[in-house]
Amino acid sequence: MRKNLNVIAAYSIMMGLIILVGIFQSWNIALSIFNLCLISAVMTMGANIQWGYAGLINFGIMGYTALGGLAAVLISVNPVQEAWSAGGLNILFSLFLIIGMVLAVRYVLKKYDKSKTRTYIIAAIIILGIIIIRFVSEPGIEAIEEVNPAKTGFLGGFGLPIIFSWIVGALFAGGLAFVIGKVALGLRADYLAIATLLISEIVIAIIKHEDWLTRGVKNVIGLKRPAPYEVNLQQTDWFINLVEKFNSGKLSLISDFAERQAALNQFVIEGSSVFVKLCYSGLFLIVVIILLILTQKALYSPWGRMMRAIRDNEEAANAMGKNVVKQHLLIFVLGSAIVGIAGAMLVTQDGLFTPGSYRPMRYTFLIWVMVIVGGSGNNFGAILGGFVVWFLWIESAPIGLYLVNLTTAGLDDTHFLKVHLIESVPYFRFLMMGAGLLLIMRYRPKGILPEKIEIK
């Protein structure tokens, strides 16, 4: 108990802050911060597995997040029958062609020894394959995008409950990580960072511009929900009764019946959105707890010890007979899969998929700030980092505004400097994140909750 005191203290302070937001701003805001904190926590856990356990630097988090989101769309949206009949065959055929191409390349790689001729053959296969695929898929893609472009214009998905997408998102992200890992894991740390950053940009470019698959920048809205809708809740009896019971103290103060009914209505409307958010919190909390248990188990298992050995001294671990390349690939896939889950969760919560909103600052570098600030190698630290940094990211605008008002109190309200500073309040969050990261790296390089390994 005693040695975990700092963990408990840090988490209680964090929860206290969120509760304070609930009391002073509103419970709605507090819960939406809490939900996104949970999602951020899942992302940081993924990044932490790669960086903290194995020392792999992965700046492609944005790409995996977006793939998770794509999974949510492909699983939950109902299939668009017309689009399938218009161009589905071409797409399926192209898919087979791609698989054929990959198999052909693999066959050449296995069959022939490394030589210039082999390189040329592979290049020829790939170029020829791309040209054929373009000829096959082009008419299909055009036909699909012409089907009711204002509403669909894409193939749609499988029409399954959106919860399944959390698993499929993990599979997608893991699959991508497998391919990237095969190509890029041999690179030195900072090159791996640059390579993954570039790949994530490409993933986003594909998602943005392949309209037949994702609707691109036209966005997919109105995804299914795992939680009830506010409008439906507001008309159910048990919910209204529940709200009445909760607010009976306040309601009993109002004597007039009509007024009381109006107040109750207001409470029901507020309560419904809080209730929906609570449903999400519950779902996300389950995911976070399951992942936390699994990652903790992994950390203290022989496998975890091996990963730390590889991280701390690759050559020694190699000499002890551990397959460093294979383990690196494994952990790269696992961490990315967890980030994929988070991506699917994010889209599930928002109910919409907007490829244009994936920016590296928000989805890659911010997550890295979370990992570093929280404490790399420590799962509790990573989760705490997700909470602290997301909380500051949201609340930095009010804090910035307060600071601006404080420092420019002597100036006139229309003074150009004050107006300019108030306009740029949203950017104070970058300043806070940067300064926070620099301070933590300088004075507490292991994060708020540093890595602590005890042999049990």
Partner: protein, 336 residues
């Protein structure tokens, strides 16, 4: 005649823009490579440092414009660049003193320095956005074109016009002057030679009495000059927007690595490699083939290898191919 038209077409849409874009990338890539070779970390704040320098260029341009100073046909920004460089170098040295120095003295691993540079990236980005805002800004003035498409058509009687923007010519000229001065400095002067020695083998350089503090300071000064001029030229040619500058970091990194990181000449050529392949692969060749081929064989589609949206994909694919087949880059940099 048709053949000449086709050549002019390629010249107008591929060669000139790629040369200008390549020069801008080359300056950034030399910046990355110098920091990597001498200070030994991948600087993720590259794009934002460039936007920081450009911001000062814009501020000075506005000031000069408001006072009424101009360079006539040339953009006022050229006059503003030297002043911006002073501020930029000051900022660089300040960051080095308060941030990077600590890790350098402690001999931290390069990954940690790269992570620190992300912190610097956040701060720089915030400062730029707070001072000048996130929106798109054009600060070009003076004569826009050296040769207008219409004039060219009248002059030569060809169907295709050739338009050369003055910014493109300025970009190429300034790059050539700057880069040749830099190479002269690195290869001929004593300080430049000691910088290269420091980059090659730190311990040996220290043993032979090279002052590391001086080397680091000069590196930051050169880096500041390169970042400001590269950023300002890009902004003059296209426009200034902090987010685009941040994104430009990716092709710049690709250029530096393709050229062989730590090798300034490689980075210089790497910039053109990336720029030309990006534009060559994403250009729609339909019109070109219409001129070259007989009418019966004219293509139906756009004859575009890749849609322009996949610009990044090109630089990345080149990067992967180079890393797989020549891990030290085309021009022998440090082995990765």
């Amino acid at each position: 005649m048709d053949f000449l038209n086709a050549i002019i077409l390629l010249f107008n849409y591929i060669f000139v823009p790629a040369l200008a874009y390549g020069s801008q990338l080359a300056l950034g890539a030399i910046f990355v490579t110098l920091i990597y070779g001498i200070l030994r970390f991948a600087n993720f704040a590259t794009g934002d440092m460039m936007s920081f320098g450009t911001m000062f260029t814009i501020l000075f341009t506005w000031y000069f414009q408001s006072v009424g100073i101009s360079l006539g046909v040339l953009p006022t920004a050229l006059l503003a660049i030297p002043f911006a460089v002073i501020f930029m170098v000051g900022y660089m040295l300040l960051i080095d003193k308060f941030v990077f120095k600590y890790y350098r003295v402690n001999k931290s691993p390069p990954v940690q320095l790269a992570m620190v540079s992300i912190g610097v990236m956040f701060v720089t980005q915030a400062v730029v956005r707070i001072i000048i805002g996130p929106s798109d800004r054009r600060f070009f003035d003076g004569e826009k074109f050296l040769i207008r498409a219409g004039e060219f058509k009248d002059m030569t009687g060809l169907n295709e016009g050739l338009a050369i923007k003055s910014t493109q010519v300025i970009t190429i000229l300034v790059t050539v002057i700057l880069v040749s001065t830099l190479f002269w400095f690195l290869n001929k002067t004593k300080t430049g030679k000691s910088m290269r020695a420091y980059s090659d083998n730190e311990d040996l350089a220290l043993l032979s009495g090279i002052d590391p503090k001086k080397i680091v300071m000069i590196t930051w000064i050169i880096a500041g000059i390169l970042a400001t001029i590269g950023g300002a030229l890009y902004g003059l040619d296209k426009s200034f927007k902090p987010f685009t500058y941040f994104n430009n970091m990716l092709p710049i990194f690709a250029a530096a690595i393709v050229g062989g990181i730590g090798n300034p000449f490689g980075a210089f050529l790497g910039g053109y490699v990336i720029a030309f392949s990006e534009i060559l692969l994403t250009y729609a060749y339909k019109k070109f083939f219409m001129y070259v081929l007989p009418e019966s064989m004219e293509p139906d589609g756009l004859v575009q290898l890749l849609s322009t949206d996949y610009k990044f994909a090109v630089s990345f694919s080149i990067l992967v191919i180079v890393l797989l087949y020549r891990p030290s880059g085309i021009f022998k940099g440090k082995v990765l």
